[in-house]
Amino acid sequence: MTGRLRIRNVSVDLGDAPVLQDVSLDLEPGAWVNVIGPNGAGKTTLLRAILGAVDHTGEIDLGEGTDRGDAMSRARALAYLPQTPTIPAGVPVIDYVLLGRTPHRGVFAADSRGDLALASDVLERLDLAGFAQREVGSLSGGERQRVVLARALVQQSAILLLDEPTTALDLGHQQDVLDLVDELRTERGLTVLATLHDLTLAARYGDRVAALSGGRIVAHGPPRDVVTEELILTHFNASVRIIDDVDGPVIVPVAGRTNQEPT
């Protein structure tokens, strides 16, 4: 079934240091899992391993009928929003977004009316309709991030990998972007695996949270079970108080942490 993402005992060594150790995760079609963890925990490496950008041991399955070794087949199953995308100079937004159609039309064919209609629709939903002819490089950080997301969305793959999708965005656009992803998940059964620094957002969107620390998954489950004061103290070395709101836990940093013994 497409949209299923199975990760079994995946380990990655970069140089001598193990960056990921024995990571297993299962995402059913339509699932949304947020990966949290301190800097250097291996979050981005996990996404890059799924993409095939780093060598790994263990098994990664992108669903039936997808050949992970074939770039086109992989790109139809999996879209990726990088944390720091490369923005080519002099490229208008519409051209950049249409790059997302490459796995469907091949690298030699021209953009079809269907491609344009899809791009137009996504641009509108991401509040970018007036930007089509602007150069991507001339946009603000938040606008750029939405343009890159638009490219990933027109790819129409069943699995979406998001690496820190909200970092450059203001609060309103953070909500817009994550709400849109959630909407698409409901509409199309999109499977989402995201890394998020903002623990409150990570706990609020999606149905499960996986905590990664030192390359291992140290906790995995519903947000309330994973995002706890103990886990955050142990793995993020941060003192927080957790307020249980109706929509999920809210994480509030506690001032005066200098009095705390570091773990």
Binding site: L51, A75, R76, L99, V107, D121, G137
Partner: protein, 356 residues
Amino acid sequence: MTEPRPVEARVESLQGTRLGFGAVAAGLLAVVAASFAGLVIGPFDIPAGDVLRELLDGVPGIDVDSGLSRTEEAVVDDLRLPRVVLGLMVGATLSLSGAAYQGAFRNPLADPYLLGIAAGAGLGATIAITEGLGDGSGLLDPVPLAAFIGGLGAVWISYLAGHIGGRSTVTLILAGVAVASFLTACQTYVLQANSDVIREVFNWILGRIATSGWNEPKLLAPYFLITLVVVLRYARALDVLAVGDEEAASLGVNPQRVRLIVVVAASLGAAAAVSVSGLIGFVGIIVPHTVRLVFGASNRVVLPLSVLFGGTFMVAADLVARSVLDGAELPIGVVTAFIGAPFFAVVLRSSRREVW
């Protein structure tokens, strides 16, 4: 999003980058104008109208009397026409190869000589000349053959050396620098040991669009066509490569494969162009960049227009090279740099586009 809402009206106004009709028309007009000037202007004074009639007469099925004497006909048909055709092809090939290298390496400073073609061809030609092989002319002239083999050999060594270290394009570029330095040193050594041919070797290195009838155009044509077809076909793939290897891979493109195919095709054309006309520098840099600054950054626009404007530029430069000195020719490499550099500086200053 699976069922796009009626967006007909919006789609009408939405358009990805395309090669515009106006740009192509401008390029073709430039080619025609430069070519006609190349046929009319020369030490032998032939009226433009007669040249036009002579050209028409050459079209199969059309019979016009140009009114030219036999000698004048020979000047147009056997001297100027092949020279213009060769200039068009050499300029188009070098510009297209330069644009292709820039796209494949995502590097504005890349030119067709990046991986050592110039140094390899220079060494090959130097050896052929010092060994006294370069006396004959025609299809089996050993100097262009040696230059061709030397140029492609250098690219091949660069590729082997650059791929051991890793997959990054920087490694490959550095390997090209090392190979070029090494081959240039070899060439200098050979030249020092045979100082009697220095002048002849330098003459070759500085480049010329000289023809003996249709031999040179015929030699270059197949390579020009291969480069043209392959590189233009990969224009979109190069546009995808502009987002970097990792993202290109996530969009379904195999960046290593695209780069290999484009670089091999571009190198083949560039080595062939160099082998018939010497090391004409600068064209592969300034023509693609000028096109980019005027018409935009997409390879779908830059590559085809580099063909048209590259050919134009070379024919115009050749016209200058053979007109400014009475009874002698300037090396064309001098002209391309002498006219090209200031022109490019003006374009750089006046353009508001950010293309790199």
